[in-house]
Subunit: 424 residues, 2 copies
């Protein structure tokens, strides 16, 4: 019964929630939404954040509708009085707000199954639907999404929690939004680089940037550097995803030519996934003896689904006696070189490898700070070793930054050492 | 010559830059700006991000001026053609754009001193000033800030790089903005709550919300719930920060009265810090036997500076044989109950406690997914146990969400079990 909406070329994103107007929280959903919409050739022309305030939200929605054919609202679909998105959208689009009995039923069933209890009365607000809206199922939470269309465009309401929003938007991008999009899609590739600092990487990339700007379609490159990792984001817009993809592949090849094995991922995989895939492919197992990283390396390895195939056990040996008792590091070695030293890291790697009977042993010992540094071994000093049959690698690193950054960089360096060992 | 602007109570922030409309970069300047403005009693009522596009930017500025007396624009003050903020603001406020010779001089001197060279011709664009604007010195970069006022309010232009923007805004908050602000400053507190889901917490908080709304000064509460943690943000606006702080302390006391020991932090500390402080205060040590969490619990414990006082060692026993060999979990126990079971979690906690000779032992075993679930023990099933002298706790949890979320919630539940045991 609704008029056919225009095809979608421009989008405006409105994040709703008073907490997003405090100094505490930043809207990050819009990054994922932008990525998904760009993939359909839809440009994001503006983003806004507005509090749980009916008047402000109504103004923002009207403004967004004037700027773009697609307005994506996220947040404010919870069960409480603060959550006003449904009501304001109904108001602005001139629709009645009606209870959808099938949603109420689903909510009741959800509460009975998950929390063994009755649905609180306030959750009924989540079953209210603007007349004529399409209800979008939320498999990860209680608030369903809503999609409305009329002659001036499409308004999409999604819940704020990312784990709820993401699968819902992915499904829409494959379905309803795909059918209504009009632009040429933006295709992206990410190359991850280890062992280089940003200014080095920039210098190496300068000649490539110039060539890419003249490519057809032209390639846009953005470098995002954090401590311990450089990401190069490449994008191209093509009439077909195939033409853009071919152009990007040749740019990826350029990067590999310049960076060699420092370019560790060209397909979105994180370092722990790359290492896990190498271990899987070779049928090898790994054990980690962690001191300053405190379990972070093994936690990252086990973030990968299926890692139980190659992660068998790890030891967090925070004290010297734990290093000696659990890993067989001689107390004299620690006394002679200090706990933070290459010989101790090597003995830890050897110890976990032989005692756990795994193929690859890793040892990490360092000073995460803020205390514990000395002029000779300042905070950020970390010794890392990796051992496998017939091969041993080790190195002392000096990382910058606070405690958690030192831990992260040490985990990154250890995983990268294993990666380089496995690719020979 | 300008009309006196209204006193400043409401602000709108506009971040300018096409890179902020890609999936790669998020505007974080607005968090700092909000904190500074709130300290003057100025509320941020909306935030927007717009690309380097004259028409869009003009629309956004007009919209922002209609919503708030203070409009803060950041970014788009560079020397290139892309940088259009100065020109669009001059346009929208009906001012001529004139070169300020003293800025040109400073720019020339800066280039001579820093880069031993002539100022590129394009940098002259940075000396263009809307007629009547106050120029704000930038000690960390080339783009000066600009402040304009008229009868409808104040427009402030600041450069995008945080290290340039921050000192400039701090100086304005101590000076020009301080004199024009009309509100009372906002003071904040955060209470963190464990063991409750959002809708339960909301129901318990309803009577408090009503009382707080009537308090003098009234207290605003925002609940931020993620899987495994609920944060309650309280803020009050007082003529003096002292009166607001006293009012917030009484609200914090209300929360503690309602939630009891579920309220685990009232001073910004994370759960791992609270647990660490309890261990420190009691002079106790801890060891963790981790299976599905893969080292995450120990990594979180060791994120806290000084944790080597109470973290001695931990075991990641991913395989059954690791549980038996390293923790003494009987193979028959695993065969009888399954690796994911309360008896095995208890045996792991007992094993790490006795073998590591620590005061508190923790055992965690579960199914993080996506594989490995069964109808009886679906993905997300996690058994957790904590053991200390004379006391044993254990429970089987069912967590929702993907692998990393199951890991996080399990780590949160384990730390919380230890916390409750330590406070008796």
């Amino acid at each position: 019964v609704t008029s056919r909406p225009p095809s979608l070329a421009r989008a405006a994103i409105v994040a709703v929630g008073s907490e997003l107007l405090t100094p505490l929280r930043v809207d990050t959903n819009s990054l994922f939404i932008t990525e998904q919409l760009n993939g359909l050739g839809i440009d994001v022309v503006c983003k806004a954040v507005v509090g749980d305030d009916r008047a402000e939200l109504a103004h923002q929605i009207r403004y967004a509708r004037a700027r773009a054919e697609l307005v994506v609202l996220c947040g404010g679909l919870g069960p409480t009085d603060d959550d006003v998105t449904r009501e304001v959208v109904a108001d602005v689009t001139g629709r009645a707000l009606l209870e959808d009995a099938s949603i109420t039923e689903r909510l009741r069933a959800r509460f009975a199954a998950r929390f063994s209890g009755e649905m609180p009365a306030i959750n009924r607000r989540q079953a209210m639907v603007p007349q004529g809206a399409t209800v979008i199922e939320n498999t990860a939470g209680s608030a369903p999404g809503l999609l409305m269309e009329d002659a001036s465009g499409v308004v999409l309401l999604l819940p704020g929690p990312p784990r709820e929003l993401k699968p819902m938007l992915r499904a829409l991008v494959a379905g309803a939004l795909h059918d209504r999009a009009s632009g040429s899609p933006v295709t992206r590739r990410v190359v991850r680089i280890a062992g280089r600092i940003e200014s080095q990487a920039e210098e190496m990339l300068q000649p490539l940037y110039r060539a890419w700007a003249d490519a057809m379609p032209p390639i846009t490159a953005t470098i995002l550097a954090a401590l311990g990792q450089i990401e190069l984001h490449l994008s191209a817009r093509g009439a077909t995803t195939g033409s853009a993809a071919a152009c990007l592949q040749s740019a990826v090849n350029d990067v590999i030519r310049v960076f060699g094995t420092d370019a560790f991922s060209v397909d979105g995989r994180a370092l722990e996934q790359v290492v896990g895939d190498l271990l899987s492919a070779a049928g090898l197992t790994i054990g980690v003896a962690e001191s300053c990283t405190g379990g972070l390396i093994t936690s990252r390895l086990t973030d990968v689904a299926g890692s139980s195939k190659y992660v068998e056990r790890s030891i967090v040996s925070y004290s010297n006696s734990a290093k000696t008792e659990l890993l067989g590091v001689p107390a004299e070695l620690i006394a002679a070189h200090g706990a933070v030293s290459e010989p101790v890291a090597l003995a830890m790697a050897d110890g976990i490898r032989s005692r756990a009977r795994v193929d690859v042993g890793v040892g990490v010992t360092g000073i995460a700070g803020p205390g514990g540094g000395s002029p000779e071994k300042p905070v950020g000093t970390v010794a890392i070793a990796a051992v496998t049959v017939g091969e041993t690698r080790s190195r002392v690193f000096r990382f910058l930054g606070e405690r958690e950054l030192v831990k992260f960089q040490a985990s990154q360096a250890a995983l990268d050492m294993v990666r380089r060992m496995l690719i020979g």
